[in-house]
């Protein structure tokens, strides 16, 4: 039971990273970034290359992967998404195309097999009577650190304020003198980088393959739909709910545990169509 709870916490923190990243990209793009799961996958593969082929130090490889994928996200926002002028259908199609390209590159370059990454700190520790890998604790700490950093950024820095303003009302923000283009790119970059971090972490404790993108996207969509599309705090809570479904689910409902999350969301959407902490102006028509 304890080990299951540890699993729950680490899984949920991973989902928090994923979902917060998606929330950030949605706040800029106004459409669901269908390629989000594939950035998760890309982050892990970039890390794989940097760590295994280029033999960089673990921490440096992580930072560099995140920066690379984040930079890619910024480029995509500036060069691919913005020229589309905010038009809905072309944006979604553009992201679908990106999804296919990322998956195609991964399959062509790395092959369709599963891969994993040797943990940084092997070994186990005793927590409340069960044995827990140190790696998981490290992963959880990194995730918490990232979320704390993001929270600080959004709440207490000027950039964070600009990001929130741009998400709220793009035109008004530009009237206030905010460089909306730059802020959009940065938001997208951070969102995508969070997904990449989540991917790196998962590959450290489990495995990764070029095909995990869709599953990650489903999870992040479930989380943000449950938590409300604009809300970071909502994503945090919802991530733990969905994490509970995915960790305790197999024990309760066997192989249909994934449907549990869908069931919960259906229920919540019937009662609170905007999600738990959603706000009306975020992605409405």
């Amino acid at each position: 039971m304890v080990s299951l709870s540890v699993y729950w916490v680490t899984l949920s923190l991973n989902y928090v990273l994923l979902a917060t990243g998606l929330t950030l990209t949605i706040s800029i793009m106004r459409v669901v970034n269908l390629a989000h799961g594939h950035f998760y996958m890309a982050g892990a593969f970039v890390f794989l290359v940097l760590f295994k082929q280029a033999h960089l130090y673990y921490g440096i490889a992580i930072l560099l992967s995140i920066v690379t994928v984040g930079g890619l996200g910024m480029l995509i926002e500036a060069k691919l998404y913005r020229p589309l002028g905010g038009r809905i259908a072309p944006s979604i199609v553009c992201m679908s195309g990106l999804l296919l390209i990322l998956e195609g590159i991964a399959v062509v370059v790395f092959g369709p097999d599963f891969r994993d990454i040797p943990p940084l700190l092997a070994g186990t520790v005793n927590v409340g009577g069960t044995v827990v890998g140190i790696e998981r604790i490290l992963v959880a700490c990194v995730a918490l650190l990232a979320m704390a950093g993001l929270f600080y950024l959004l709440r207490y820095t000027k950039l964070g304020k600009s990001m929130r303003a741009t998400a709220q009302d793009r035109e008004a923000a530009s009237l206030m003198g905010i460089n909306v283009g730059l802020v959009s790119s940065v938001s997208m970059g951070i969102g995508v980088a969070l997904a990449a971090l989540a991917g790196i972490q998962i590959s450290a404790v489990y495995y990764i393959s070029p095909f995990v993108g869709i599953g990650a996207l489903v999870t992040s969509i479930l989380v943000i739909t449950l938590g409300g599309m604009g809300s970071v705090m909502g994503a945090f809570i919802a991530a733990f709910v969905i994490g509970a479904c995915d960790s305790f689910g197999p024990m309760l409902v066997g192989r249909y545990y994934q449907l549990l999350g869908l069931g919960i969301i259906t229920l919540i959407l019937l009662l609170r169509p905007l999600g738990l902490l959603g706000t009306p102006f975020e992605v409405s028509d």
């Binding site: 020229p83 038009r87 072309p90 195309g97 999804l99 009302d169 869908l262 028509d285």
Partner: protein, 325 residues
Amino acid sequence: MQLNRSAKLVLGFMIPALIACAPLFLPSRWQHILIMWAVWTIVGMGWLVMLRVGEFSAGQVVFLAIGAYAASVLTLYFHWSFWSAWIVAGVVSAIFALAIGVFVLRLRGLYFLVITFVVAEMARLAIAATDYLGASEGMWGMPGPANIGPISFSTKQGWFYLFFFILIIACLTFWRVEKSRIGRVYMYIGTSADLAQSFGLHIMKYKVQAFVLGGFFTGLTGAAMAHYFGAISPEGFVFYYSLVAQIVAILGGIGHLVLGPLLGAFLYAGVDEYLAIIPGWRTLLMGLLLLIVIFFLPSGLLTLRGQFLGVKERKFPWYFLRRRS
């Protein structure tokens, strides 16, 4: 080329008649390509009709899956005849579309996109978890239809005519929709749902109707496909195939509900035959194709001639609706 009415009628009969003779002189491989052409046209039209009403469906593949599995269960486990199972599978798909549509189409914003995506993926996972449906290995050995007179279903010939038949019916249906008042209503709703509603149009009725229409034909196609291939598995209904519906419609041209997917599916089916053996490259190339089309020819190949002549895309503003910030 401007064709007068009689020329259009003649072509409208001649071309299908020509295609109907195909099995007599085309090699088997080309018959397969034409069959896949029919399949993707229908799935593409199902997606495009939703785009018309202003909703982006990211889960069209779920109807293929439901049609396929429903029909397979009926023929394999309950020993129904192919034809009854086929029709029932289409109806089941339509009912599924009804159930999902009634619940999701009333929500504003991008919920339809997100939920169709999640539902399609969840359905696939649920199927993969159910032993009765063959779990990950899938189902196989579904008995096909018996031979009808000289048309044999043990070769591709019978299947060709079946898919061709579904294609004709679907194209006629969607053509009628496109040209009639219903098609115009769809466009009004897609352009501005609020405005349409203020004119007294019942949005939900038309959106659900469009969704069910697409779902029905896609379900029929899925059922036929299951028995044509003889085996199905969850792997055959991954998200990529929902994207193929988009590729097919956008490549061909979103301007025309029937001709667009027809053209796009023809190109896709032809290319896919050679790309299917290199799945990684196929995915990559299709992604690039989507990006190229969306950036350089957003309304598809059908508008290529118009673009040469300098005709601006005025026809479908809803496709190019900007989001209010």
